[in-house]
Each structure stands twice: as C-alpha cells, then as structure tokens.
Symmetry: C7
C-alpha cells in the first residue's frame, strides 16, 4: 500500500473507452489525457503556520476531476498510480 | 454534480448571440471569449494560516464577471463548465 | 450594478478633453492613457491570515490616481469600467 | 491634495542646479536622476497579517534619499510628484 | 553517521535488478533512475512561523517513493546516500 | 546625518591600499570591490507580521563583511556611503 | 574573529588530499569542489514571524556536509572561510 505524505493523494486513473462516431475504438495516443481519477489513498494533510493540520477534503473512493498534466506517475506492484497534491484536484464528482 | 475544492467555483458560461450591424450571426471563432458566467457550485473556501476557513464570496446562481483565459475547462455529463479560483472572479452582477 | 470581490474596486475613467497649443482637439490614440478615475463600487476588502478583513481605503465617489496599465477593462450595460485591486491605487485626490 | 494609500508616500523632487567646473549649467539630460526628495504626504501605513497597521517611518517635510528609478511619476494641479512605497526610501536626512 | 538538518531525510537508494523480456540484464544507463529508497536518518523537522517544530512524517527504516531527480547525492564512508527534503517524498510503502 | 529606514544600515567602505608583489600601488579599477565596511548608522529594524520590531544586529562603529555588489551607493555632504539591508551583512568582525 | 549574522554559519573547508589509483596527487582544479566543512562560528539564528529566534542546529566544531556552490567565500586574517546559511547545510557528521 502507498501512504502519501502531507496534502498528497494517490489516485487511479479512470479511463473510458472512446469510440469515434463510426464506432472505431481509438488507440491511446489519439485520446486526450484523462482528467478523472478515483482516490485510493490520502495523506495526513498539510500543516499550517499555526501548527494546525488541515485534513484533505477528499476521501478514499471519491471520484475526482484534476488538472491535466499535474501529479507524478508512480508504478507500484504492477499498477500505475498518480500522486497529486490536493491543490491539483479541481472538484469531486458527487 | 461537481463539488469544487477549497476556494474553487464551478461556473457555466453565459453567452449572448452576437449579430453584426448587418444582422449576420457571428460564428464562435469571431467572438471574444466570454467574461460572464453563472455560478453552479462553490467550494468550502480557502484555509488561512490561522486555521480559519474563509467562505467563498459568491453563491450558486450568482452571475459573475471573471478574468479572461482564467480557469480550467471541464466537461461533465455532456455539459461544459469552467472551474475558477475565487480570485479569478472580478465582480458579481447584482 | 457590479459588486467587486475582495480588495477590488470598480472605477470609471475620468478623461479630460485635451487640446494642443494650437487648439486642435487630440484624438484618443494621441493621448496618454488616463491615470485618473472615480470609484463606483468597492469590495469587502482582503482577508488577512489572522482572519481579519481589512476594509478598502477608498469609498464610492472618491477620485483616485492609479498605476497606468493596471486593472481589467469590463463592459457592463453599455458602460466601460476598470476593475482594479486596491494596491493599484496610488492616491486619493482629496 | 494627494492622499497616498497604505505604505505609500508622495514626494517632491529636490533638484540642485549643477554647474561643471567651468561654470556651465548642465541641461537636465546631462544630469543624473535625482535621488533626493521632500515628503509632501504619507499614507496610513501597511497592514500586517496580524491586523496591525504600521505607521510610515517618515513625516511630511522630511527630506529623504530614495532608490533611483523607483516610484511612479504623477502630475497633479500642474506640479510633478513621485509616489513611492516606503520600502523605496533608503534614509531620512536629519 | 549523517544527521540531516531540519526537514531533511537521508536515504539509501533501493535498486532492483532489471531484466528485459528476453532475460538480458540491463546496464545501469538503460534503466530509469530509481524512485525508491530506504530512510536511514531523519532531521528534527521544520520550524513553523508559530515556533512549533513539525516532526518528519517518515521514520528510519521506512521504504519511500520520491520525486525523480530531487535531492542531493552525498558520499559518506564509501556509501552513497541521497539527502532529500521531506517535501520530495511522495509516499511511504507500508 | 543619514538615518536609514527599517532594517537598513549605512556604512563607509573600508579600503586598504593594495600593492603588488613588486610594490606598485594598484589603481582602483584593478582591485576587487571592497567587502568590508564600518557601520555609521542603523535603522529601527524590520517589523514582523506579529507587529514586533526586530532590532538590527549590528551597531554604529562595527566593522562588517558584506556581500559584494549589494546595497545602494549614496553621496551625502561630499562623502560616499553604501546603504545595505541587514540581510546583506554576512558577519561582524569582532 | 568573524561573528555571522542571523542564521549564518562560518565554516572552514575540510579538504582531503586526493590521489589517483596510480598514486599521483591531483592538483586542485582536477578535484571536485569540497562538500565538507568544519563550523567555526554560528549566528544568533533566524527570527520567526512570531518574534521567536530559532537557534542554529549546528555548533562550533561540528563537521558538516553542505550543498556545493552555496555560500560566500570570505578572506579574513589570511584564512579562507565560507559563510553559509543554515539552510545550505545538509547534514552533520556525528
């Protein structure tokens, strides 16, 4: 298991099979990078100058929209994850 | 539904049909990018170093003027939205 | 009406007709950009890290001098305004 | 009268007639830009994150040395002023 | 022994022998730089503006994932270490 | 007299006559810029976000080492001074 | 004696004679810049926004590893020193 630090969040990408109007499945390079993910682990939150730790606003299992190209790709036990900072998350799908 | 994080706000663009003096409807590329939007969701607000969370100054339904080219475009359930930071919002039309 | 957010201020430009020594009225492009404006709306002020909100130092009706090229031009109900941050205002004419 | 905002200060430039060794008065372009001014108005001071407002360290009438090329030139009622931030002031001549 | 300062952490790189599908062991230059390490020493943590010191979130012995190319390589008593800032650590493997 | 503002310090440069091995006195342009000075005036210190003013760590008469090329040269009553920020001072010679 | 200001530290470089495998002593330009030093003086520490002064984490006599190319070289009474900020120090050898 990956336990992210601070205000970091580990997500799995949520990809949807894309077909063109004519029904042809597009290969990966022809698709836009995904902007959607599912949270698999959250950090303990960032620490303010006052010493208070602010809990991350998302929870494990949440589906989120994040800024394209943000985060760091990590391979772990054969799976691919993305480690984001909470500030890279735009919205939760709820 | 999209629930934006922190001081983020989700808006729908408010576009007005534009006609030239001669009555010709202009196609999209000939128009300036819109600067007006309607708030559809607001985040919980940003957290100060003191630990206090500051509520976003706009509310769902507000019509706003925002800085051109700011924010991130998001497609969700067939609709297009823009996720802005509160600081990208110049004024509320009230 | 436009209600600016945070430490923003909405102003109308104050332009004075400019004549050359020979009495010719100069067209707009030959004049320097105005540096003077009249405040038409003020925001609620910026929030400090302590949580305190600091009222904007100018009031509606004040005539101000502001930094050239600062602010964002906004058209609203046929009028042109400039949305400034309070920090773009150099001085009040009083 | 000009009332500067925050930690701003309005000054008049103090220029001294410059002669070369041979007694020729130098035209303006041949002189270095002045670094000396007289304070004509001071702002209310900047606001700290604690909410405290810090009074400007200079007073009306003070003669000051300031960083060359800093500040914004403002014409008001036929006179030329320079609006500086307090941090552009190096020292008071006392 | 190396005792890192502040929010710094000393790690040893964890490298795994890499074989291609055909069983050929890849020389070092053909492999991606490692992203995995084992913590061998932790600093006392960073000091907040409030004066509070925040303990580092990782402990000696932890296996971590860190941002590629971050940190400073240090040779000490014949061994190679990497000195990271805590903020370069993405996640703990736990 | 020059009274520096905030965390500023006024110094006189301390120059030592430099001779080459053959006893030739080097003209000014052939020497490195001095890094040593004597404090002639100190400001009231910088103000922290807490509102506290922190006294400058050097006193009038102190000989100091400062970062080359830092500070602003000021001529006053025929003398040349350098106005430094306290943070440009590396060490006191004591 | 040099008394560094704030969070600064004065160190002497610790250089080790380097021989190639064949026993040839390398001249200085062929060696990497040293990364090791001995602390000879420490400042009073940096002041936080809360007004608290944080003591430097190293003490006179400590041997340290520091970031290459950081700090300012200073000659004093015929010796060469390096003035570092505490944040340039990676670790203490203990």
């Amino acid at each position: 298991m990956l336990k992210p630090l601070g205000d970091r969040v580990v997500i799995e990408l949520v990809e949807t099979e894309e077909k063109t109007a004519s029904g042809i499945v597009l290969p990966d390079s022809a698709k836009e990078k995904p902007q959607e993910g599912k949270v698999v682990a959250v950090g303990t939150g960032r620490v303010l100058d006052s010493g208070e730790r602010v809990a991350v606003e998302v929870a494990v299992g949440d589906r989120i929209i994040f800024s394209k190209y943000s985060g760091t790709e990590v391979k772990f036990e054969g799976n691919e994850y993305l480690v984001l900072r909470e500030s890279d998350i735009l919205a939760v799908i709820g």
